[in-house]
Amino acid sequence: MVEQTPKIGVRELRLSYGQHEVLHGISFEILRNEIFGIIGPAQSGKTSLLRAINRTLEFTAGARYSGSITVDGEEVGKVRNVYELRRKIGMVAPLPVGLPLTIYDNVAFAPRMGGIRQKGSIDDIVERCLRQAALWDEVKDRLHTLGTRLSGGQQQRLTIARALSHQPEILCLDEFSIAIDPVTTMRIEEVLKELRQQMTIILVTNLVQQARRLADRTMFLFEGDIIELDRSEVIFSNSPAQQKTYDYVNGIFG
């Protein structure tokens, strides 16, 4: 099922904001078409890691990193077209960021930026992405109202639809379910399982059970270090390699 070629390679990644080091030289690989879970308590550097991959970290003053991050073997710091890199990666933030546009325009935003002009094909993209994000039925009659008027959970699904709109090869979900009810969360999880055929998914989550349900492999990140990285069956078994992993997964600490 999972092809054994790395989609993303991270080597000796040290990341810091000013004097404060957040990631202490971590190395791992994410394979093509796998769902890669990242678990760990707050402040362990999960979000910073994602932001380094799509190079939005550079908008934060004082943020730097050393080491290497490659996407498809290409060093992200040296890509010729950073916009192309970012279009390759769909990003869903923990709290929904509905751009102040209509529902339709939110989803059509990236395709239009990418140069698609025909209304027909944009219509198709909007419908496909909204269906994939399990939002189509709720909004199909009011596509031209402001996206910011939707409820929190709907807005989050809108950002998922938007992240899918530029047909990314990598989908990063940063605690996507904290604003969504459990039923909708399950529906989106089903969608993610299907999407795995088409893309690589990085699932950062505070819900360890979500990682267990979805992820092929899971990485336990704690205070900027990788405690353990293994197949999810191992991480969530009764005998992971590290006692700390067992404790965290079973809610004994963290």
Partner: protein
């Protein structure tokens, strides 16, 4: 809080609420009071001898003629609108451009310096601007455009634009700063360039504040008196080009009110001009309000 004081809490709350209410209501009260006062000063003439037809269609403004007094304000209305329009034509793109630069592109250190300078610009008294128009701009326009006279619509518009730009920049920059960074990051994460982000996300998100900035700029341009009085040439005529002198409504009031005998027809007509100015700014603000809501409802 000691138990003894606790029973005073409702009273304190009540007092604070009343005070805040008073602050809010006084704004409405003052606007109406000014309107009523201005209207009362012109009311006698407005209801007896005032010829609205002549006022709005004639360019013959002879308030002190011995034989045939005429109050045709068309040239003054044209003057106000042409100078303000030209000023905004220059100031809006420039001001908004500067606001975007300061908010999005400027390195932090330069940003602080620029903001201080721009606030200084906004604080320059209008008579100083008028002085600049009267001397520097005057000779510059004569030399550059070979114009017969440097005190004209173009001069006034440039002075007005220079006065409005700082307001547009500082309010516009505040509006852009108020756009959450998450919007910028979301747009950028979708793979758009900085320009696309600015035009498609930032400007639409900040449009209410930006519109308010432009409206304040227009308000300043329409209401400005001293600088235009000094820079526009103050000559009553319908301009046929930007290099011709004009006279504005505000400048007319400023120049003539002191000379007009109190409660004479002339005096009252000047107050009617005041009402007209009041109405113009009112209409501009209402229009802006409708535009903002119109976009918001979408």
């Amino acid at each position: 809080m000691t138990p003894g004081r606790r029973h005073l809490e409702p009273l304190k709350e009540w007092l604070i609420e009343r005070f805040i209410w008073l602050c809010g209501v006084s704004a409405i009260f003052f606007v109406f009071a000014i309107f009523i006062f201005v209207f009362r000063e012109g009311a006698d003439y407005f209801f007896s001898g005032f010829k609205a037809g002549e006022f709005f269609t004639s360019i013959e403004w002879y308030p002190t003629s011995r034989t045939h007094v005429r109050y045709g304000a068309l040239a003054l209305i044209t003057g106000t609108f042409s100078v303000s329009f030209l000023a905004m034509f220059l100031a809006v793109p420039f001001g908004l451009g500067a606001a975007v630069f300061i908010s999005e592109f400027c390195p932090p250190r330069l940003k602080e310096g620029l903001k201080i300078v721009i606030e200084l610009l906004a604080a320059i008294p209008s008579v100083v601007w008028g002085f600049i128009g009267l001397t520097i701009m005057n000779s510059l326009i004569v030399r550059l455009f070979n114009a017969p006279i440097g005190l004209n619509m173009f001069n006034g518009a440039i002075i007005l634009a220079l006065m409005s730009v700082p307001i547009i920049v500082s309010i516009g920059e505040d509006a852009l700063k108020a756009v959450p960074d998450s919007y910028r990051e979301a747009a950028v994460a979708l793979g758009c360039t900085r320009w696309q982000m600015i035009f498609r996300v930032l400007l639409p998100a900040a449009r209410n504040g930006l519109l308010a900035a432009v409206m304040l700029g227009i308000g300043r341009a329409v209401g400005e008196t001293m600088a235009v009085l000094m820079a526009t040439g103050h000559s009553i005529r319908i301009p046929h080009g930007v290099l011709e002198p004009v006279r504005t409504l505000t400048a007319t009031i400023a120049a003539e009110l002191g000379e007009a005998p109190v409660h004479s027809d002339h005096y009252q007509v000047l107050f009617i001009i005041g009402i007209l100015l009041f109405t113009i700014t009112f209409v501009i603000n209402i229009t802006a309000d409708f535009i903002v809501r119109g976009i918001g409802r979408k």
